[in-house]
Symmetry: C2
Subunit: 107 residues, 2 copies
DNA sequence: TTTATATATTGCAATATTACGATTATAAAT
DNA sequence: ATTTATAATCGTAATATTGCAATATATAAA
C-alpha cells in the first residue's frame, strides 16, 4: 500500500536502506559531485549548474542534510554547502561492510 | 511532477542512482543478507523469513534481478536464488570510486 | 489426468517522491 | 524604510513505489 513495513526489519537494515534512498536520485549524486569539486559551493551556483528549479534543489539539499551528508554554512544571504567528511567516511565504511559480509554460497 | 528528469544528468549519474534505488528498501537489503547466509536460497524460504506476502517478495526479487545483483536458478518447481558475485564486486567498486573521488574542499 | 506446490504476473489501493509556482524569511544594498 | 538577492517553505499536480488479493503458469506428485 505504498508504505514500507519498517517494523519487520531491524534498525541496521532500515538505516542502510535510508542511506541508499538519499543517494537514489541523479540530482543528488550530481549535487554531491559538484559540491566536491568547487571551491565555493553556494546554493545558487548549484541551481545554475544542475538545471532544476531552486525549490527543487533546495528540497534535494534538505534530503542530503537529513542524514548529515552535507552541511550548510550561512554566509550573509548566501549559504555555502559542503560535504560532511565524517558522515561520508562512516557511510562508506558501512556500505563496504555490507558488501564484504554479503557473499554468495549456493546454486 | 513525480518524474525524475534523467535527461539533464549523465549516464554515470543515472546509473549510480539506479543502483542505489534498487538497494533503497529494507526488504531488499534483508533478502540479500538472507540469501548470502543460507546454503539453499529458495524463494519460498525468503517469503517465510522476511514476512511479506509472496507476490511482494517476488516483486522485490525482480528488482534485484533487474540490475543483475541476483540470479535465479530453476530447480524443479522451486527457484534457487543466489548473488551474482561479478555484479556485486563491480557495484562495490563503482560505489567506492564515487566515495573516494568525492571530497570536501570548501567552507 | 487430477491435484498439490512453488513462483510470476496482473490489477489496484494507499502512500511516497519529484518538480515547480507562489510565497515567505532573511540579510545586504540603496 | 525600501529594494534586491538568496534560499527555505508551502501547496499541489504528476508520477512512482509498496503491498497484497486474485489469478496465471509451471512442475511434481498422486
Amino acid at each position: 500500500m505504498g508504505v514500507t513495513k519498517s517494523q519487520i526489519f531491524n534498525s541496521s537494515q532500515n538505516q542502510m536502506a535510508a542511506i541508499f534512498k538519499v543517494l537514489a536520485h541523479p540530482a543528488r549524486i550530481a549535487i554531491l559531485q559538484y559540491i566536491s569539486k568547487q571551491e565555493a559551493c553556494i546554493c545558487n551556483d548549484i541551481v545554475d549548474e544542475i538545471g532544476l528549479a531552486q525549490p527543487t534543489i533546495s528540497q534535494h539539499l534538505k534530503e542530503l542534510k537529513s542524514i548529515d551528508l552535507i552541511q550548510g554554512e550561512i554566509e550573509g544571504k548566501k549559504v555555502c554547502y559542503c560535504i560532511n567528511l565524517d558522515t561520508w567516511a562512516t557511510i562508506q565504511k558501512t556500505l563496504n561492510t555490507f558488501f564484504n559480509t554479503t557473499k554468495s554460497n549456493c546454486c
